[in-house]
Symmetry: C2
Subunit: 333 residues, 2 copies
Amino acid sequence: MSHPTIFDVARRAGVSKSLVSMVMRGATNVSDERRARVIAAAEELGYRPNAAAQSLVRQKSFVMGVIVSDLHNTFFADVIDGIDNAVRSVGYRALLVSGHLNADRETEALETLLRLRADAVILAGPAVDIDDVVAAAASVPLVVAGAVSSHAAIPSVTTDDLRGAALAVDHLVELGHKKISHIDGGDALSSRLRRQGYEAAMRRHGLEPRVVSGSFTRDGGIHGAQTLLAGDDEPTAIFAANDLAAMGVLSVLHDSGADVPGELSVVGYDNTAVAQSSPIPLTTIDQPRTELGEVAARLALERINDGTDVQSVVLEPTLVIRDTTVTPTHSRQ
Amino acid sequence: MSHPTIFDVARRAGVSKSLVSMVMRGATNVSDERRARVIAAAEELGYRPNAAAQSLVRQKSFVMGVIVSDLHNTFFADVIDGIDNAVRSVGYRALLVSGHLNADRETEALETLLRLRADAVILAGPAVDIDDVVAAAASVPLVVAGAVSSHAAIPSVTTDDLRGAALAVDHLVELGHKKISHIDGGDALSSRLRRQGYEAAMRRHGLEPRVVSGSFTRDGGIHGAQTLLAGDDEPTAIFAANDLAAMGVLSVLHDSGADVPGELSVVGYDNTAVAQSSPIPLTTIDQPRTELGEVAARLALERINDGTDVQSVVLEPTLVIRDTTVTPTHSRQ
DNA sequence: ACTTTCCCCTGGAACGTTCCAGGGGAGATA
DNA sequence: TATCTCCCCTGGAACGTTCCAGGGGAAAGT
């Protein structure tokens, strides 16, 4: 049950602990014969270096701590893939702690990672008040991924929500739509940006924006769609705050017998799994999630290595055209 | 940037390192005055105990390692919630490593956790060949969650797929369906069990089972549904291997203009987010995911504490009735 | 034959904790 | 006054590594 140490290996191989250490770290100035003996002994005993002891003496853990605000959101799965890739290639390991969408739990997660002496910490979509985190940032490089950091000392990597909303509007306008309504996502920062992007793009096209309030949930989409259908000036296209809300819109349209996309086009945001697996695959805005993680990891690694401050990064979203958007039918136009 | 140690705190508080250690661990036999001084000093310096050093000397890390086979699958998000809850309440921390649905990466993840000297490891839905893991099980308690372990030395926690399939069939039969087809999920163990459960339940009701091959993906559902619709004996209900496949079925039915659930009822499996957020919310079989994690964590903790071997556990699935299943229309019956 | 060089190896100190044996001093007891 | 308790505190050893200074011996140079 208990773990063999470097001494156990040394004894079995008939060499000193130092020689075992050298072999394990791949030093070159070791005779082939001794090296083979050490490797054999280590194998036989099932020896594994104790990372805690290594971390202590090396003053470095080669651990990239990652706090995942919400594991239920597959958005972060891709971000983590990106982090993991970037980090593995330079000999680091990504260790994840779940934040459970809860500020206290995130603070706790950060504490755990700091005690473990992670060399840097990436906050993936933090819900925690960033000010609580700033103090910690004094002892470890910190990077925020997928949310804007409100604090200058903490760099963040995000995508451009203003631009994403413009992409959606441009696409619909190009198809010939003029009456394009937006169901917004509430008070969250990214919701505000998407709304502003929508409004600006509409005006740029000489169209009148029309926003109804909603949320980042299926129900938000349902309410928004109901409001829009009840009005006397039905739109020909709806741009929802995210995919979940778009699914709500689709369900209202399905129940009311409206034909999608024949009568009404729908665009979501985020390109989540539901957008793909929906009965009618959803046109949506994609964020480069994996890249988001990769860039965040790179920033963090840079800060570990030279300690210099790094800039925040904003990445470009893209449009993914699927089956919920077409040219509006003439009768409705 | 660098972290203060127990000595820094001791110097600032004017006491010995041992006293600081005692205060940090909440020992009672310390005078109030000294305790206050130590706490103040620790606070001022931003002192955080070094978990690596603690782990070394205590010969215990209070880390529960978790290998998550697939972060993109929200199934595991709930499992992890369960693990985290169970583990936190006894002073442990769950540290996650992503397996990226890849046997090599999982082996690597296990290696990482073993080097960190996690006190136990939970494999959540492992894709790795369990035999590769058995050797590791000699040095650390191991528990498999959400998949059946083929090895006696490694206990597992799963839900009863045979029973889940029976639940689906019973529900449809109760509604009056007789022609119930199953689109299976391929070769995976759980797919086989669901198919067997379906077949057994059908025979129990005196009905003839009809299985078409598919997979655990949207495409699998699409192909299966196309096969069924092309045949001359259309079913009145389809039981898909999982929710994703069911979404594929729904999309084929949507395209062909078939009314769901009026003409055809559909049942999925897993109760994933798509089941809820689908335009027509999906009737499906739910696995007690959180409980799965909790039980796995409890088994692991038991093995840490008394080292005795523990039994595998099988939990009960439940039926979640939503909008894709109704009594078949007379004309079709 | 003596020194130098080089290769391969070794022991000791250090990393930041915990825990244990023991010590100083105040108050109680004789 | 001398002894005993008890409370609070301290220093040292240990945990499993890495890294450094240095050592032994063979080969090479003088």
